[in-house]
């Protein structure tokens, strides 16, 4: 791509189509440090008037003697009896697990003086460890779930809507509910006719056990399971192929050739943390001359597509066609008929087939939720043909898999409810009134049920329609257990007593069945007698609780072979657009709607915050005359005319509209209500994963979408100017480097393209670093998948506030760590490449910010950290203006005490240092990390390399007279990264990992050569492995 020097052409790597087009508006945004900020508008007067006001406020500050107060009296409250081994003020870690859509995410939770404050992956669990160092990674959702624990709007009370309104108790208790249960379910005992339970997916051994007990008490009761995001097509496909449900487990670390048919294995797959770790093993090995090649045909842009080598955007109906074509070329039997393929598809299939054949069994094919069941069966046949089964893919028994699909379950239940066959309904978790298929009209059916009981974290859309609402205990508040994707069971251990008196699923089931045990802990112990030998039970259960996983409980490998069957051609898809439903990166299926951290973490690809939108391809957008933010009307099956804001996403396949689910909540809570678009309204039980035959037209009006993709753009226009002045020497500032694997293998220096290597230093460097420690970081862009785990980890660790949609639109989002997503390619390119670059303070040795601070609030320490001293900062923002990386964040308002949903900040009346005591909500305050200062209005802040973690580790080591060892200090982002793309360490230690990475041939400092900032963070160039000669060669060999 050599069009860099064309007229009116933006950079080679671009953040948005506007950035690429290099529009005047975009130049304005880039050239201004604080776009949308106009000082004169704020003061509404002249400079003179501003100075007058400033002087007057200074004088008033003196008059009121704000400095002459003793700070508030503080109390110290030691325990009455100190628990054994308890050290006040020392954070402790406990293993637990979060059951998310029926699959456990193994966790290690940090608790500070009884408050769980930080969630990390469990390093001793195979489904959260990161393969090399076993740091333990958890995804963004799991990490942010701690904020839900402290959500002041979680349900606190039991709600009773039975009987006459006047006779109801004001605040019913669990005892009242138990009394009701005893009366209501007495007649049903031994029968259970008309009794139905609708539960969210759960593979928890204790829930399974309690379910059996419930069925024993109420033999005719029906148990339904529903999840709005489900991998049921995969399960159905396995049933087609093997005659029984099996669970597929990929071994990406063994696969040198991977073909994915809309399988988002690094994104929303339940095992994505481990998959990402495995995948990265075969990418990092590029330095050793070996690298995997990933093909993906996908129906929207996912992060897996972003890091794949060969990507083909297709519409959903083509997935099965591609699978058939690959299968027939590989010689799988039963492929009937012929397919017509486009040129791009033929090229994709030919290259993929050549590679699969040449990989000698070290290859794997996988399909995602949009592939119909027959396609999954075909993929199993392909893997068998490739000899991949047992190597790169293993098949496991799935005891819970023998159930109707989730869509089927909810459809059956709703029919029964409508026909009056359901008289008592218990809804455990989920939110079916909001997220069930629209054609079923679950909400109306629910209103027809005489007795409905709901156990939920929030009093949400479903609870509002039920006769009883019961507050549910958060998973950090209750005992339980769960199974990871490989089936290994682990105990869910509470870290705090229920804040609002909630109870867990198993405790509710115990209440319904009038069990002898009512306490969650006792129930879990009873269940676990099946896993642990009787004579050593006490010892073993303690070990299981401590480890968070019990070895030997994995699902065994299934001894199955694919049945020979025919794979007929697919029915042609109807005319019109495909609607492709995906989970949303902020709310998943809507359950995290009230979670501010997730709302404000930009979507990996679109960089949208606080909203969802309909993703549309550039081609379709041009045809319809639509731009990002315009409203489009989607008509499906003649029944719906749904208006939604469009987002033009490069790389989106033409003819497909992607609709992220999980927005448009009406009873989510203050943070999540009335945001975005309720896309479930377009989802029917027939078109559950994909709907086809929709018509799309431009409607009137537009909608304010906030995408942070153009915020904090690293300015390369300035470099162009400098190039002109200095005679056009060298390249203009390059932020991103990438290289093709073949070139890199031939020439190890190819990665950096022989950029300018002339040192610019005229004088001696301002600092010499002779301390034992010189902290530095390396970020491997070849391993980064843009999953946001690091961004949320940083937010949780460093008490970073959320600012709200309006402030985010003013470029004021506070994230210390942002993940810059760059596209590369022409605007009309159906498949632009993507690079993810985590960007935070680079801790430059020659820091531009330090040179302009008038009050020395930012300066260097002896270990090379660029320190930010909040109590010195007076808020000139010069540093931010002078930072070439745009990583400094200013507290324009007191965001912790501000309502993020208010367009304009609520007035700020209280004295500044009272904010941490009174203004922040008492419950919300509990999530703060006490080792990091909570910043107030008017100060600048930025990444500190997690200085609190550096100190904690060094002080502990030095107390024993030792020095920290390489790998002892782990920053929050590094800890969370599933692919270990981030490495932190001591640059003055000759053999440390970070030193090796800095010496890597791919390592470069962003803008280091151009600006001589001497950054302490180095990036490792991305290596791509596009199909080329090698693939064709493989074909000849085969």
């Amino acid at each position: 791509m050599n069009s860099t020097h064309q007229q009116n052409r933006g950079p080679e790597y671009w953040r948005s189509l506007e950035h690429l087009a290099d529009t005047p508006e975009m130049r304005e945004v880039i050239s201004k440090e604080f776009p949308g900020y106009d000082a004169s508008e704020m003061v509404n007067g002249s400079r003179r008037r501003f100075l007058k006001l400033a002087g007057a406020s200074m004088a008033l500050a003196g008059v009121t003697l704000t400095g002459c107060r003793r700070w508030p009296e503080e109390k110290l409250a030691p325990y009455s009896t100190n628990p054994r081994g308890r050290q006040p003020g020392v954070p402790e870690q406990y293993a637990t697990a979060y059951e998310f859509a029926g699959v456990a995410m193994p966790l290690l939770v940090t608790s500070f003086d009884g408050r769980p404050i930080k969630i990390e992956g469990n390093p001793s669990h195979p489904f959260s460890w990161t393969v090399r160092d076993k740091l333990g990674s958890a995804d963004a959702f799991a990490q942010a779930s701690v904020l839900d624990l402290y959500d002041p709007q979680r349900s606190r009370n039991i709600v009773d809507r039975t009987g006459e309104a006047e006779k109801r108790k004001e605040e019913p208790t669990w005892t009242d509910f138990a009394g009701f249960v005893a009366k209501h379910f007495a007649d049903l005992k031994g029968k259970g006719e008309g009794f139905a339970i609708l539960s969210e997916a759960s593979a928890s051994p204790s829930v399974t056990d309690m379910r059996k007990r419930l069925m024993a008490v109420f033999p005719q009761a029906r148990w339904y399971e529903y999840e709005p995001i489900s991998g049921d097509n995969e399960l159905e496909g396995a049933k087609l192929a093997f005659g029984k449900p099996v669970r597929t487990r990929l071994h990406l670390e063994k696969a040198s050739r991977v073909v994915l048919l809309d399988a988002d294995v690094l994104g929303y797959h339940p095992a994505h943390v481990r998959y990402a770790a495995d995948w990265a093993e075969r990418r990092r090995s590029a330095d050793d001359g070996e690298m995997s090649r990933v093909y993906i045909a996908e129906t929207t842009y996912t992060i897996t597509g972003g890091v794949a080598d060969v990507r083909l955007p297709v519409n959903p109906s083509r997935l099965y066609v591609l699978a058939r074509e690959i299968a027939s070329k590989l010689g799988v039997s039963g492929i009937l008929g012929q397919e017509q393929l486009s040129d791009a598809e033929t090229k994709f299939v030919d290259a993929a087939v050549a590679d699969l054949k040449g990989a000698n069994g070290a290859a794997v094919v996988a399909a995602g939720s949009t592939m119909p069941p027959i396609g999954h069966a075909l993929v199993h046949a392909i893997n068998e043909k490739l000899g991949a089964v047992g190597k790169t893919v293993t098949l496991h028994e799935d005891p819970a898999g023998d159930r109707p699909s989730h869509v089927q379950a909810i459809a059956d239940l709703t029919n029964d409810m409508k026909s009056g066959r359901v008289t008592s309904l218990v809804i455990i978790g989920g939110n079916p009134a909001y997220d069930s298929p629209a054609d079923l009209d679950f909400a109306n059916a629910l209103a027809k049920v005489p007795m409905s009981i709901r156990l939920g974290l929030y009093e949400d859309e479903t609870s509002a329609l039920c006769k009883w609402h019961l507050p549910r205990a958060h998973y950090l508040e209750a005992w339980g257990d769960a199974r990871a994707w490989d089936g290994s069971a682990g105990i869910v251990q509470p870290l705090i007593l229920p804040l609002y008196g909630g109870r867990s699923t198993i405790e509710l089931l115990a209440l319904l069945t009038n069990d002898t045990l009512i306490n969650g802990y006792d129930i879990v112990r009873r269940t676990w007698q099946q896993f642990l030998p009787k004579d050593t039970f006490e010892r073993d259960i303690r070990r299981a609780i401590e480890a968070g996983v019990q070895n030997g409980t994995e699902f065994p490998v299934a001894k199955v072979t694919a049945k020979a069957q025919d794979f007929p051609p697919a029915q042609p898809a109807p005319e019109g657009f495909f609607l492709r439903f995906t989970p949303d990166s902020h709310t998943y299926d809507g359950r995290f709607a009230n979670n501010g951290w997730l709302q404000e973490t930009p979507d990996p690809l679109t960089k949208l915050v606080w909203d969802n939108a309909a993703y549309i391809s550039k081609k379709d957008a041009d045809t319809l005359g639509v731009e990002t933010g315009d409203i489009i009307r989607i008509v499906l099956g003649g029944n719906y005319g749904y208006d939604i804001a469009a987002y033009v996403l490069p790389g989106q396949p033409a003819g497909v509209i992607t609709l992220p689910l999980g927005y448009g909540r009406t009873a989510a809570g203050h943070i999540g209500d009335r945001l975005g678009f309720q896309t479930y309204q377009l989802r029917s039980s027939k078109g559950f994963d994909v709907a086809s035959g929709a018509t799309v037209a431009k409607a009137s009006g537009s909608y304010q979408l906030v995408a942070t993709q153009d915020h904090h753009i690293i300015d390369d226009i300035g470099y162009k100017g400098r190039e002109k002045r200095s005679g056009g020497k060298g390249e203009s500032g390059r932020v991103i480097h990438d290289v093709a694997f073949e070139e890199y293998r031939k020439d190890p220096h190819a990665a950096l393209g022989g950029g300018r290597k002339v040192p610019l230093q005229l004088f001696n460097p301002p600092h010499t670093f002779v301390d034992t420690h010189a902290w530095g970081m390396a970020i491997d862009m070849n391993a980064c998948i843009g999953c946001n785990a690091c961004a949320v980890a940083c937010q949780a660790e460093n008490n970073i506030p959320i600012v709200g949609k309006h402030e985010a639109n003013n470029h004021r989002a506070m994230n210390w760590l942002r993940i810059d997503r760059y596209f590369k390619g022409e605007p009309d390119d159906p498949d632009p490449d993507v690079v993810f670059q985590p960007m935070m303070c680079q801790h430059c040795e020659n820091a531009p910010c330090e040179q302009v601070c008038p009050v020395a609030a930012t300066m260097h320490d002896s270990e090379g950290l660029n320190t930010m001293v909040y109590n010195r900062c007076i808020g000139t923002r010069y540093c931010s203006n002078n930072c070439p990386y745009k990583v400094r964040r200013f507290n324009y308002l007191d965001y912790h005490s501000q309502d993020p949903r208010h367009e304009w900040a609520a007035p700020y009346n209280n004295i500044p240092d009272a904010q941490q005591l009174e203004q922040v909500d008492k419950i919300k305050r509990m999530v703060f990390n006490p080792e990091v200062t909570v910043r107030m209005r008017g100060v600048m802040e930025k990444c500190t390399y997690c200085v609190q973690r550096i100190h904690r580790t060094t002080i502990a080591a030095r107390a024993n007279g030792e020095d920290v060892k390489d790998g002892d200090i782990v920053t929050a982002c590094q800890q969370a990264c599933p692919t270990q793309a981030i490495v932190f360490g001591n640059l003055n230690e000759a053999d440390s990992k970070v030193v090796h990475l800095h010496k890597n041939n791919r390592a470069y400092g962003v803008l280091a050569e151009e600006l001589n900032t001497r950054p302490r963070t180095k990036y490792l160039a991305k290596v791509r492995n596009p199909a080329g000669d090698e693939a064709t060669k493989g074909e000849h060999q085969a």
Binding site: R70, E73, E74, A77, P78, T81, D861, S862, N871, H951
Partner: protein, 234 residues
């Protein structure tokens, strides 16, 4: 120079001239300068005075626990109650249980100990008032100091002579830095940490020499590290 073409100075735009009433401000400015000469030093003196730095802050505690009695007279070690001070950032207050080790037998009917017995029965903590209260942006670590030869008395004063604990030292940043710049003057052997009476042996010169030796043996950081912002603030 041709006078005819020379503009009359009075024609110069008025806005470049100060108005006449400014002249009256001149004596006022003189007063301000003279007054300021007194005001500014006074301000700084007051700012650094014990009143401003809370020296002598002596809040009333729920139980009038006397360090003079327990430490000075009975000779209890600091670490009997503040037990994790060598391992943790925070020097904890004793659990009620620690007090009750003795007070289940001694002075079991004392009215002054009623809050203690209440706590023991109810399990609710005794609410002590914090005396040595650093600002929230200071991250002081007891273990880092205690393990490197800084005695309790350096910051807390003669606790063994206090009936009611008060703040003895300014605990201001300038005061912290005095020691961070020259730690050798304040270091002692590790086994003398809790000894309130310890004095370095010999004259000033040999004391300094032994201080420097201790500094080396403890591996105390260089001054450049000791006075870096992130050492205490983050």
């Amino acid at each position: 120079m041709s006078d005819t073409q020379q503009a009359n100075p009075t024609d110069a735009p008025r806005r470049f001239l100060f108005p006449r009433w400014i002249n009256y401000l001149l004596p006022l400015a003189a007063v301000a300068v003279v007054g300021g000469a007194f005001y500014v030093p006074t301000l700084f003196a007051l700012g650094g005075s014990p009143v401003a730095t809370s020296i002598g802050y002596q809040p009333q505690q729920p139980v009038p626990y006397s360090h003079a009695l327990h430490v000075g007279k009975l000779g209890m070690d600091c670490r009997y109650c503040h037990n994790t001070v060598e391992r943790t950032a925070f020097a904890p207050l004793p659990a009620t249980q620690t007090c009750m080790n003795c007070h289940t037998n001694i002075r079991t009917d004392s009215k002054l100990l009623q809050p203690l017995r209440d706590s023991w029965v109810t399990g609710k903590p005794v609410q002590w008032v914090k005396v040595h209260d650093l600002p929230d942006y200071v991250y002081f670590n007891h273990s880092a100091h205690v393990n490197h030869g800084v005695g309790c008395v350096e910051c807390h004063g003669r606790i063994d002579r206090m009936d009611v604990v008060h703040q003895d030292k300014p605990l201001s940043m300038g005061w912290c830095l005095e020691c961070h710049r020259e730690p050798e003057k304040h270091l002692r052997p590790r086994d003398q940490i809790t000894n309130m009476d310890w004095k370095p042996a010999g004259d000033a010169q040999s004391a300094l020499a032994s201080g420097l030796e201790l500094k080396k043996s403890y591996g105390v950081h260089d001054q450049s590290y000791m006075i870096s912002c992130y050492t205490c603030h983050r």
